[in-house]
């Protein structure tokens, strides 16, 4: 069957490197919404070698717009993967020691089943027929992937931003299947402000006439402008005021004076426009709707009568929680709430707030303090676990 998305959506054409596995064919995945999904595909990439007793696996969880290519050259952008600074031979997550797994989340657009995938029942892209998914559903799908790989227990689950939410979900629901957990720049729930920013992004997409009520693939259109605006707005929340000002100030873009019009007079405008237009080349608009929704629904305490500590009762997991001082999207107070909850169950936890003015995106950037802390934490976890590499 010809993939109807191939001409319009080069990112979902199935020609990407890495692995694909079909899961849930016999027993479908029961989603938090009550719907069932199956069979579905998980696209994932691995780095390094799994050791004989399958004890050296690290699962890397990606953020909202990330994908399963954190390391090495990215097959679409041809730039370094989103966590290339962190993952590789001799790096913090050392691929000569660990077997690193990264899978595209459920609802994504890089090969894992999502709204742009073809619904086997209708033979057409799901579009808005795709069921609403949650962070819990994403992680449940990951556990099925880990089962498929024959791995009983992960040495570590690590991720930033939405990746941190998945890490917390793993630690809460599958604590016996992970040895250590590293949620970075995350939160135990989405705040009203977080939901508000996401809603603006979704409204931008849905206001684009090319969105076609979610049916744009069949209409051979793409809501480029809406998705670009969503990305521009979100991108601001990933930075900080000082970081933006340092990078751009009030400098003008390729001109000496103001245009007295609505061109991109300022460098910062030009930068955001570029962020928006390059994003639409690699991301699907409906995936953006579904994944932002999943994040909005995330509230770990709510599932435990409003007591976050109850999400971690009797945990044996070693935690390393990291936040960034200038992150106003998921500020330190959110990470501290996780730490206090872990203290309440006397869990083994380390916590560091990294001093930086780079905002939320600091977790992706060259932050030596972050890298040194994680190296030390992982080395300590190796010694404590007796992991043989």
């Amino acid at each position: 069957m010809t993939d109807p998305t191939s001409s319009l959506n080069p990112i979902a054409n199935g020609n990407l490197p890495g692995h694909h596995v079909e899961l849930g064919a016999e027993i479908p995945l029961r989603l938090d919404s009550g719907a069932f999904l199956g069979p579905f595909t998980i696209a994932f990439q691995t780095y390094g070698k799994l050791n004989a007793d399958k004890s050296n696996a690290i699962l890397v969880c990606h953020a909202l717009t990330g994908d399963q290519y954190p390391a090495e050259q990215h097959p679409v952008t041809k730039k370094g993967g989103w966590w290339d600074l962190m993952i590789g031979s001799g790096k913090v997550i050392d691929t000569s020691r660990y077997f690193v797994i990264c899978s595209n989340v459920l609802g994504g657009c890089m090969g894992t089943t999502g709204p742009s995938s073809v619904d086997p029942k209708s033979g057409k892209p799901y579009g808005l027929e795709f069921p609403v998914i949650t962070i819990g559903d994403m992680v449940r799908a990951q556990t099925m992937l880990i089962d498929h790989l024959g791995i009983e227990k992960l040495f570590c689950v690590i991720g930033g931003s939405m990746g941190a939410m998945q890490v917390l979900e793993w630690a809460s629901k599958y604590s016996n299947r992970i040895y250590s957990a590293v949620p970075i720049a995350g939160a135990p729930r989405h705040s009203a402000q977080n939901i508000a920013f996401h809603e603006v992004g979704r409204q931008a997409i849905m206001a684009d006439p090319d969105w076609c009520q979610g049916n744009y693939i069949a209409q051979k259109k793409r809501p480029r402008r809406g998705l670009a605006v969503a990305r521009m707005e979100a991108h601001i929340t990933y930075l900080s005021e000082p970081a933006l000002h340092r990078k751009f100030g009030r400098r003008l873009q390729e001109r000496d004076q103001l245009s007295y019009g609505f061109d991109a007079d300022f460098e910062v405008e030009s930068y955001l426009r570029h962020q928006g237009s390059s994003f639409v080349e690699r991301f699907d608009a409906n995936s953006y709707l579904y994944i932002t929704r999943a994040m909005d629904y995330f509230d770990l305490a709510a599932e435990h009568n409003g007591v976050l500590a109850n999400a971690f009762c009797d945990t044996n997991v070693r935690f390393c929680v990291v936040s960034f001082s200038s992150d106003w999207l998921y500020p330190t107070i959110e990470s501290r709430a996780v730490v206090h909850a872990l203290n309440a169950v006397a869990a083994n936890v380390s916590f560091l707030e990294v001093e930086t003015d780079k905002g939320h995106d600091a977790f992706l950037l060259d932050e030596p303090v972050l890298h040194k802390t994680l190296s030390g934490f992982l080395d300590g976890a190796i010694r404590h676990s007796g992991l043989k590499l």
Partner: protein, 208 residues
């Protein structure tokens, strides 16, 4: 519990504290600095070592040693711990820097079966003479700050501390006064001598 193979020799006051701690116990060190005491306890006494430290550098050094340390302080980050979470809670040279020493002390003996608290004794004869003859507020030996940037905002003498313990109904399991030559005296309740001669006081407390 195995931490780093490199064990540094302990500062004398930390050595005294470490001698109070039984092997194979659970210890929380508040204001653990670079983790020297925790690493020593983990290596030499097989202690389950946890720490709280305010500075990014300190936390970084601790986590790099494989220790479990959170960035925080005694005033804001102790409340959530369950009662008797630890065998010992250590508060070394930090009590006087807390905003609310009374609440902190009560929390220490709640979350730990025993609390070990050390502080600079402002009742020492040097500090008394300094105020009497020089007319200046004393700064503890070896410190380089002035009155305006002294992190200790709630100064006390050894006797003041004992009064607070009595008010809170805390039991003094052990009390040691230490001078600058690391001579250790056992403190008897209400001891004017220890208050005069001890530059540092180290107490082991529990709920009364």
């Amino acid at each position: 519990m195995i931490v780093s193979p490199n064990v540094k020799p302990l500062r004398p006051d930390l050595k005294i504290i470490s001698d109070m701690i039984e092997p194979n116990s659970r210890v929380l060190d508040i204001g653990c600095g670079d983790g020297t005491l925790l690493a020593y306890l983990a290596n030499q006494k097989n202690v389950d070592s946890r720490g709280i430290e305010l500075s990014q550098e300190g936390v970084n050094a601790c986590v790099a040693l494989g220790l479990s340390v959170i960035q925080g302080d005694a005033d804001t980050d102790l409340a959530e711990y369950p009662s008797d979470a630890f065998d010992y809670v250590v508060l070394g040279q930090t009590l006087q820097a807390t905003r609310n020493p009374k609440d902190v002390l009560e929390t220490l003996v709640r979350i730990g079966r025993q609390a070990i608290v050390s502080f600079a004794n402002y009742g020492h004869w040097r500090t008394r003479l300094s105020l009497l003859f020089r007319g200046r507020l004393p700064i503890p030996a070896g410190e380089h700050f002035g009155w305006h940037d002294n992190p200790d905002i709630h100064l006390c003498t050894l006797l003041d501390f004992l009064d607070l313990c009595e008010e809170l109904g805390l039991k003094i399991d052990r009390g040691l006064a230490v001078n600058r030559h690391n001579r250790i005296r056992i403190i008897k309740t209400g001891s004017q001598t220890a208050n005069l001669n001890g530059e540092q006081a180290i107490f082991m407390l529990s709920r009364g």
